[in-house]
Amino acid sequence: MEKVLIVKDLRVRYAGGGWVLKGLDFELGKGEVVLIVGESGSGKTTFVRAITGLAGRVYNAVVEGYIEISGKPLADWSWEEVRDKMGVVLQNPRATMVYPIVYDDLISHAYSIYGSASTAERALSNITKLLRISHLLNKHVDQLSGGELRRASIAKALLSNPEIIILDEPLMWLDDKGMEEVRRAIEILKLHEVSVVVLEHRYKSLVEVADRVLRLEGGVLTPVETPLEAGRVSTTLKQASTTQEGGDPVLEVRNVEVRAGELVLKDISLRVGRGEKVVIYGGNGSGKTTLLRVIAGVIKPARGVVKRRGSTLYVPQIPYLYFTETSLGDELKLAGLPDVGKNLAEKTRFDLDRSPFTLSWGEALEFIVEMALESKSELVLMDEPFSGISYTSRKTIGERLLASPKAVVVTASSRENLEFLTGFKLLELKEGRLFEKGLLGGLR
């Protein structure tokens, strides 16, 4: 098979840091789809930055080793040529949008490549037909769902007709529908013999599409010998055999109605007892975050009553947004846990003098969960806690939450995540209403 990308003995380190990639070897054949899995912080994004030349150009990182694209060393290509050969879909696809209307953004990029309005229009037309996104062209970026935004971003990456497409965590924050849309887009690319590298720790739905699966660990890539668990997410829920006993209520929501722009939540009622665990499941844009904010008392409902007994702790989707203090120790003090600090430091691996903003995504979430469960708060609200972390971390966090004596309400947009919340009471938020679905016993 003709090789479109060859990487030999790649070593990368950022200024003042150790080697993130430590002699990595990689080859990508024409039309091949390679899935690279790895824990959060294993160096997946650094790998993308290195092979695209961004590591040196933007991050001033030290890059050693040999990179060859389409038979020529990376250094022999101009920056513009590299951009045309390799399309990159970033972790945050929204960051690639210059103009807020999808058409404006894509056509201006196409024009900058081809220099002719008619050719740009033709290229855009072909790509939008290929990815079936013509209906998205007149939409504002704020109107796109996660999956639609990701597909628009793939279209932008494809406009230069690249040989290679790199997708950095394309399933981040996507609900079941969005995941399926991205998976289908990768299948279309494969059908048209575009070489694809997907870096994702949420790999289950992508294993079947990939020709090869590699694991990035310890700064090197190794083939995954044992087959990874694959499969699309099930739509049937298995009932748990045990029942959950809720104590005195710490939260009571009665007949709440909320109007926030286009979103309307109607007749929402919910009771959470001391120690009870609840998961609110719903697609992107179904109103889960709004409901959590109503529970937190930040949004006042147009109708109905919200009663909270005891203090509440809220963990946003992006864990870094939780931190307001300069050290982990100060965060603990603020949570009323000055004495717990030592135990927590022993139990976890956190240096309490460390700034919270130097933690990796997974570490930040782990710290917040441990702190929340030790805190005096009676009720812990977590908005999509499983975004951006590996299956192993999801399992650990799910188990920790279940074992805790606190009342916990979490949201989830993917059924895949419900698997890690066994024992939680499942509520589905659909078309503005909340439906009780029983206790979670995993998926079948």
């Binding site: 210059v98 103009y99 201006s108 937190a296 203090s311 946003p316 992006i318 870094y320």
Partner: protein
């Protein structure tokens, strides 16, 4: 509708506000003020739902109320003579100027704004403005998350500057990376053929300007 018609409409409103501001309040100027408001609210109604118009007006009125309060405090403290008719007239003019800006942002897309900025020699500044308009809502969403956290944490750092600063820098880094990969291209404007709506809007805009000139010449 063509860009030229839309720009003429916005220009006529701003010219109208300018003309009205140089005219003392009298029966004719009150009528002219109403005509401007009629055009503005009519256009905004076509582009939006009634609820959005109401919210926009409440938002504008909040600031107008603030400025009025400050003026009243000034009068109370410094014994400044106040003409109620002039104050109300000036306040309404201010509201109409804000509505004009709202109209401009709704009628002219960011890529058209960049194109216009380019025509007066501010292309790069225009592109930065387009980037800000594209990403502002995303950053504001993160800020609202921090607001929830801070409210529940009862932290002393009321403004929670640290997470906001770190997030904004991080987000800026992502945009920087994207610009390296995709560049900051010039906008490409599609060509629109003039139609019936253009005729209507052009007539309305010219009528507004001419009425203003007639008012001023009295």
């Amino acid at each position: 509708m063509t860009l030229a018609s839309r720009l003429l409409l916005v220009t006529s409103v701003f010219l109208g506000v300018l003309i009205a501001s140089s005219t003392p309040p009298g029966p004719a100027s009150w009528v002219y003020l109403s005509a401007i408001a009629f055009v503005e609210l009519g256009v905004i109604k076509v582009l939006n739902k009634p609820g959005n118009i109401l919210r926009a007006l409440v938002f504008i009125c909040f600031f107008v109320f603030l400025s009025l309060s400050m003026r009243l405090i000034g009068i109370f403290l410094f014994n400044n003579p106040l003409n109620p008719a002039t104050t109300v007239y000036a306040t309404l003019l201010l509201v109409e100027a804000f509505l004009g800006i709202t109209m401009l942002l709704q009628l002219v897309s960011p890529s058209e704004l960049v194109w216009l900025a380019g025509k007066v020699g501010f292309r790069e500044a225009g592109k930065v403005l387009a980037l800000v308009l594209t990403h502002l809502s995303s950053i504001l969403l993160a800020y609202s998350e921090v607001y929830v956290v801070v409210k529940l944490k009862k932290t002393r750092s009321i403004l929670a500057l640290k997470p906001l600063l770190v997030y904004t820098i991080e987000y800026g880094g992502q945009i920087n990376e994207a610009i390296h990969l995709y560049g900051l291209p010039d906008p490409v404007l599609g060509k629109t053929k003039p139609g019936g709506r253009d005729l209507l809007v052009t007539s309305m805009s010219l009528a507004l300007i001419l009425t203003g000139i007639l008012l001023l010449s009295r």
